[in-house]
Symmetry: C2
Subunit: 321 residues, 2 copies
Amino acid sequence: MKICIIGGGGLVGQKLATELAARGTLKGQTIDTLVLADVVDPAPIAADFTVERVTCDITDTASVAKLVDADTDVIYLLAAIVSGQAEEEFELGYDINMFGIRNVLERVRALGHKPTVVFTSSIAVFGGDVPDPITDNSYLNPQTSYGAQKAMGELLINDYSRKGFIDGRAFRLPTISVRPGKPNRAASGFMSSIFREPLQGQEAVCPVGRDFPHYYLSPRKCIENLIKGAEVKAEDIGQNRAMTMPGRTWTIGQMIDAMTAVTGPQAETLIKFEEQPAVWDIVKGWRFDIHADKALSLGLEADESFEDNIRHFIADDKAAL
Amino acid sequence: MKICIIGGGGLVGQKLATELAARGTLKGQTIDTLVLADVVDPAPIAADFTVERVTCDITDTASVAKLVDADTDVIYLLAAIVSGQAEEEFELGYDINMFGIRNVLERVRALGHKPTVVFTSSIAVFGGDVPDPITDNSYLNPQTSYGAQKAMGELLINDYSRKGFIDGRAFRLPTISVRPGKPNRAASGFMSSIFREPLQGQEAVCPVGRDFPHYYLSPRKCIENLIKGAEVKAEDIGQNRAMTMPGRTWTIGQMIDAMTAVTGPQAETLIKFEEQPAVWDIVKGWRFDIHADKALSLGLEADESFEDNIRHFIADDKAAL
């Protein structure tokens, strides 16, 4: 079993690699080789199998050709320009999030060996005047370039799967919280930083009100779901390979209360509420009454509570910082 | 008023140009110049304004740059590789139907003058396990590469409109019947040829049964709707620029009966029913319980009856053949 994680240097890629190293198997097969590919050299992962770390540019077909060969059984296609950056750098967003994805799929089509491809889409594909609730049969109406590019990625995954070039699966990730590490340029960044920073004694800014609702998943559950997402049988998925990954909807206030319930009242005092119009312009169009029936029926899971998300952060990430 | 029709050599492009020549105006302004662009030299159109005929390759950015300049007020983006051909020639379909569309939009973005762009999508964006009825809020679940590419085109039109680069409008065309001229490589070709050929005393093959239902529009109504589609105000359309063009659902049997009602029983005897698996594999996934409420509310129209479609063909096209 050879696996390639494109975007292997990012939060999800690194956690996925760590979990694969702990398991040693995927789809019932022993992992021999894991290729971690990213635009900058991915951090090393300790594992009993071979871990290759590769720098790549997925907009360059020659660079993509070096990542994936006919022995690659599973490809995780996680690489993306995040929402805030894709909004500011219009061309770069399309180059990576649409043409880059297509380059990987074209490489696979040329090889002809039909690997499993797990693509991370986003709930940013939803938005605008589409009636609630948002289901897997709702019109994809993205309100950002990032969301549009992810919706195009889903269409590619479905079309390449239908044609038999890949065994594709596309999961619309909820906003991941609590994310460890540095802030990135995602407009959703504050949805982690208002917990991450206070839990480490630092101030953080919340640019929306306490009643702002959104759809979340912990990093730990996201990784579990990505592994299940590769393992679920194609015949159980059916024709449409794109679906929303299970999450839960909470308001900022509910999440702060959960943090307080787990860690006491001190952390909350470090959150400063300040409006940020550039962030608001993006997040105001996001949807939150989202249902993930198909993924739930396939065995993927949401967190039980945001208290769990806080506990997972403390157990998995805070100690390592 | 300068207009560019990309795909100006095709059936819709030629009829649209002819109608624009008859009207002399669009959006209340006198037409000065009409650029007819296509991959082969478009047929000339008699008009009181300047008609430029240009051969172009929309996969080539230099070729696109020659078509569109800062004086181009309205662009009709009709060019496409049709469904049957896009299914057989996978790369060509994406090159024209996705990358070609993007090249035109990128040219416009670079010019910075925000023209009106009218894009012809297709009801082939619908399909699969999406519950009836199909509305403008239904999940786009194409079952062909052509449909996937058209869905991506809609996403591009919406994103470029949202960013203020274009004033875009995307209309999902019903199957156009009765089409004049030679058969093309669209899987829907028989839906015209079983009327067109018998009405001219020739045999035609119907590869599906009499009870096969589908969603149709006459060429005449399609052209009227494309003109209205450019003229409707952006503020009346709202955020989502993509919608289904009004059509009507009929079975093959109902359409044959309509032909008989208009022209007598002779034509029907020339239709031979013969299964064609390659055609069936494509059309079986198409949806027909389709509603176009948004476009209807904006003043676009369907035909009153298929008898009208037959009469339009006889009046507009049969005499000219």
